[in-house]
């Protein structure tokens, strides 16, 4: 056994370039996986610990009193309230509850008791007031230390004790960085920051702006002084302390909740953990992809080495060494190689994971960011690599060692067989110039090289097409979003109100995140989330156009107008009858047309039709298109005003981010192509050393040899590209569709002939560039050694 071990190890030393390359690939695979896992496991554990300790909510909700209270009782309540009767009737019961003008604490308490008893949860009421100033949303809370759900965690300093003191959640507010001890001025009042706290339902980026609120904790007296409407909702947590997905799903579908947000769907609570999960998912993809790639490369090298040593192995078997022993010796060495590679990667990951952790620490809120590697991750990383490599090696060794011993012993006398493809190419290329024929024959020599090249072209095509499509669609998205938009400002109110006719503005009624459902082609009920935007269809403010650019606002009278992305994503067709659930009412409406502009998430509907179906006033509105920043005499209370210009700017910035993602895809495509083509070239050189030497000796120049033996895969690259482009398009379309559905945005697959030509050109440029460099790298091989005659005997008599 020792001698066989020595033999294998000496062979590894002899082929140390291959061994180093494989070791490097294993270490790189292990490094990438553990680098991400060290950060993600530690943060994940800390998140779970923190969520448990601080009693993080399982869901946020408000009961739907419009469902709990029947029609007659509603009328009695309305008639008994101090709100003007016309407004009460026309706004509708649900809208009145949403405005907080209609408060029904007893009814709400009864509804809460029923729901908490039925679903077995306890809850806290969360009260807050919001102030928006200089682009920052301040959310005031005043309940210091009496929570049973979402308990406040003091990260730094202390809780506010007097009126001039506050504690905050973030340390970056707009462009300003705040520390404990600093002063913060809101609406002209200066407050001393005495503490920084973390809310378990706000595990997100540590910056606050107009969208993401800065939580300001004040003592109850100070909170009472904040002059703004108080809003409230409830934080619930199951009594057994365990989040139950099944129950949550049931609760989501329960119409008795006016608003229900499971913690897992709450971006504020899950921003960090979803980022971590995405990283962890990526690490798994890297682990599997790179392991498969490394294994493929390793098998090619192993196969070649075994073939070169056939005689030696045949000799050992003939001498009586059991085949199993020989296989084991090889496998032991491979396991050793894998373990060394994995340990190297693990060690490198341990020392460099701090960089990733620091990156998270600088961006997100959590009490601690520990570096930790879970047992599962460790086992996963080690086992996937070791098992994959050694299972593949065992398979190849088993196949090889079970060859006939005599055949192995006579291996050197055996000539290399040609595959079917070589025969075909030889027949089909008669008549072509000689060099072209040789090139084609050489390219057909190895099926595995063709497969490897095919995979490379396919992967690179996917990434390049995805990159180009993302780049174009992000630019097009901005253009299409604002095509037909004739207003300068879009104002959205937090509560519904009644309109008085005004030429200077166009009022609409918006219901966000409503569920749209329809019967799919397979008979199964399908659905998507939409923003229902009910307006009068006046094209002076918003002109919706179809794919041909034809105005279609008039179609609103026939039914809904839906963004064409929904047709592409879900296979919806004009005439399909869809249902939208608003409050406790289900509105049925046919799709009249598809628009190519406007908001991809919008479901445009005629305002009169919707209000009629909901039984509310046709004058209701909660949003306005206008050309003046203050056209509405009722413009008080809470509202957000966005200018079309600023929205366009924001979208353009988002487009830049998509374009960055596109660039990253293209870089990844380049890296994969470069690595794979380099490997293919390396293997081609290895396999052609003898042929290169022969051609060199009989008078071929380096350039001619390179052209005939190395630069032979252009045709394969082009054919692979033609064959795999439909597959690449399918994958890219699938990826973009998935992203579009999950983000409720639309990222179309955009391509044309130019795209295909460009991608092919990029792949060919990479191919030629790598080949050019590789040829220089291998330009001076030893020519005499590969074809030297075996040594004759020492003695000569004459």
């Amino acid at each position: 056994m020792r001698n066989v071990l020595k033999f294998v190890r000496r062979d590894m030393v002899k082929n140390q370039l291959q061994v180093w390359l494989v070791l490097l690939l294993i270490a790189a695979t292990s490094f990438i996986f553990f680098f991400i896992k060290y950060a993600s496991d530690g943060i994940n554990t800390e998140y779970e610990r923190f969520a448990e300790t601080q009693q993080q909510e399982h869901f946020a909700f408000r009961p739907n009193l419009a469902v709990f209270i029947n029609g007659d009782t509603q009328q009695q309540i309305i008639s008994g309230s101090s709100i003007p009767s016309r407004e009460l009737e026309q706004l509708g019961f649900e809208n009145l509850l949403q405005t907080y003008n209609l408060k029904l604490p007893d009814e709400e308490h009864q509804a809460l008791s029923r729901l908490s008893g039925e679903y077995q949860f306890h809850y806290d009421e969360v009260k807050y007031k919001e102030i928006k100033e200089q682009g920052v949303l301040y959310r005031w809370i005043g309940d210091t230390g009496k929570r049973t759900v979402n308990q406040i965690y003091l990260a730094e300093g202390r809780l506010p004790a007097s009126s001039g003191e506050i504690a905050i959640t973030s340390n970056a507010v707009g462009m300003q960085t705040l520390q404990v001890g600093d002063e913060l001025t809101i609406r002209g009042h200066s407050y001393e920051i005495v503490g920084r706290f973390i809310l378990p339902d706000q595990i997100r980026q540590n910056t606050a702006d107009g969208e993401r609120p800065l939580y300001v904790l004040a003592n109850p007296e100070q909170y009472a002084l904040i002059d703004d409407i108080e809003a409230h909702y409830y934080s619930g947590r199951f009594q057994n302390g365990t989040y139950s997905g099944d129950v949550v799903r049931k609760m989501t579908e329960d119409a008795r909740f006016a608003f229900f947000l499971p913690v897992q769907d709450n971006p504020e609570a899950t921003e960090l953990i979803k980022g971590i999960a995405s990283n962890a998912g990526m690490s798994m993809i890297f682990l599997i992809t790179l392991t498969l790639l490394c294994t493929g490369v390793f098998l090619i090298f192993l196969n070649r080495r075994l073939r070169l040593q056939q005689k030696a192995w045949g000799c050992l078997i003939a001498m009586g060494y059991p085949r199993a022993l020989l296989i084991n010796v090889y496998v032991i060495n491979n396991v050793l190689l894998c373990v060394i590679g994995v340990i190297l990667g693990l060690a490198a990951a341990y020392f460099s994971a701090d960089l990733l952790i620091q990156q998270f620490q600088s961006q997100y809120v959590l009490p601690a960011f520990p570096k930790e590697l879970g047992v599962n991750s460790l086992l996963m990383g080690v086992l996937v690599i070791v098992i994959c490599f050694n299972a593949a090696a065992y398979w190849m060794l088993h196949r090889f060692m079970n060859n006939d011993t005599v055949t192995m012993l006579l291996a050197r006398q055996k000539n290399e067989h040609v595959n079917f493809l070589t025969r075909w190419v030889s027949r089909l290329t008669v008549g072509l110039p000689f060099i072209q024929r040789v090139k084609l024959q050489m390219s057909a020599r190895s099926i595995k090289m063709i497969v490897l090249l095919g995979i490379t072209v396919c992967l690179s095509s996917i990434l390049f097409i995805l990159g180009i499509s993302l780049n174009q669609s992000s630019s097009n998205a901005v253009e299409h979003r604002f095509k037909g938009v004739h207003y300068k400002y879009d104002i959205q109110y937090s509560e519904a109100r009644l309109a008085q006719h005004n030429e200077d503005r166009n009022d609409y009624y918006l219901q966000k995140d409503k569920r749209l459902s329809w019967d799919g082609s397979s008979g199964i009920r399908e659905g998507a989330k939409v923003n229902v935007l009910a307006f009068d269809g006046d094209s002076k403010w918003l002109t919706l156009v179809d794919e041909n650019g034809k105005e279609i606002n008039s179609k609103l009278k026939e039914g809904a107008i839906v963004h064409s992305s929904k047709a592409q994503l879900f296979g919806l067709q004009a005439g399909t009858s869809v249902q939208v659930l608003i409050g406790d009412k289900e509105v049925k409406i046919p799709i009249a047309a598809f628009c190519s502009n406007g908001d991809p998430a919008a479901f445009y509907i005629d305002k009169a039709q919707l209000t009629n179906a909901l039984g509310i006033s046709p004058d209701i509105y909660n949003g306005t298109f206008t050309n003046s920043p203050d056209p509405d005499p009722q413009q008080s209370g809470r509202y957000t005003m966005s200018s079309a210009e600023s929205m366009r700017k924001e979208m353009t910035e988002q487009a830049s981010s998509s374009q960055l993602s596109a660039v990253l895809n293209q870089i990844l495509g380049c890296v994969i192509a470069v690595i794979m083509i380099w490997l293919i070239t390396l293997i081609t050189v290895e396999e052609n050393k003898k042929n290169m030497a022969v051609l060199h000796m009989i008078g071929y120049t380096q350039r001619e040899i390179g052209s005939m033996l190395l630069n032979v895969y252009t045709v394969i690259v082009v054919i692979s590209y033609i064959v795999f482009t439909p597959l690449a398009l399918f994958f890219v379309n699938y990826i973009l569709k998935m992203v579009s559905v999950s983000t409720n945005d639309f990222i179309p697959l955009i391509y044309n002939v130019f795209t295909f030509v460009l991608v092919l050109a990029i792949i060919l440029i990479i191919y030629y560039a790598v080949l050019f460099i590789a040829r220089r790298f291998y330009s001076q091989p030893s020519y005499a050694v590969p074809i030297a005659a075996p040594k004759p005997p020492k003695r000569v008599d004459m």
């Binding site: 024929r437 000796m697 071929y700 020519y783």
Partner: protein, 234 residues
Amino acid sequence: MDLITVNDVSKTYGEKESQVHALNRITLQIKKNDFVALLGPSGSGKSTLLNVISGLERADAGEIYFAKENITRYKDKQLVQFRRQYTGYIFQQYHLIPNLTVQENIEIGKYLNADSLDLDEITKELNIQHLKKRFPYELSGGQQQRVAIARALIKKPEILFCDEATGALDEENGKQVLSYLQHLQRKYGLTIVFVTHHVGIAKMARHIIKLNSGRLVDQIMNDQPLTAEEISWG
């Protein structure tokens, strides 16, 4: 007329203790149209001498003239051109390109000279015309070596270098190959330099150069070279 003149050529491999004098001050002449045998045991320097003469390796000292041209001063590109134009090579292990047919393997040689021999003629001479569509693995050793000879000859070289060209063949095939070489040498007026450790084969040559430990130990002008059929193989 001397085709090749070797003047005081030395070649050393390795350094210090492991230094080996592969060629030690060799001086000789090879005449045009001659059949020359380089004879010697393993490590005598015959293959090194062949490589140096054919321009594959550079001598450390001394000069080599090919038809009065000093090839030791040639740059790499000139050496490639020299091999392309004037030399042919036959190897012990044939070294045909495995995934090219017999015809394509021969065309590898033909491509190097626009004024090459006719492919049909040369395959007929070597009795391999019926094998043109086959791949090397479908041929016997003797057939493969005949293809290798065709590949070397089709470009009409001035000089043919054979490195143990029959070393992998049995007597019948070996003699057949030698017979073809002898015949073709006469027909095309070739100069052949044949490296061998086989004394019997060396007797086919008119000029026998004996080497040992990198030194030229003897040169014999054989006035009565044997034919391939006459040599003893054992």
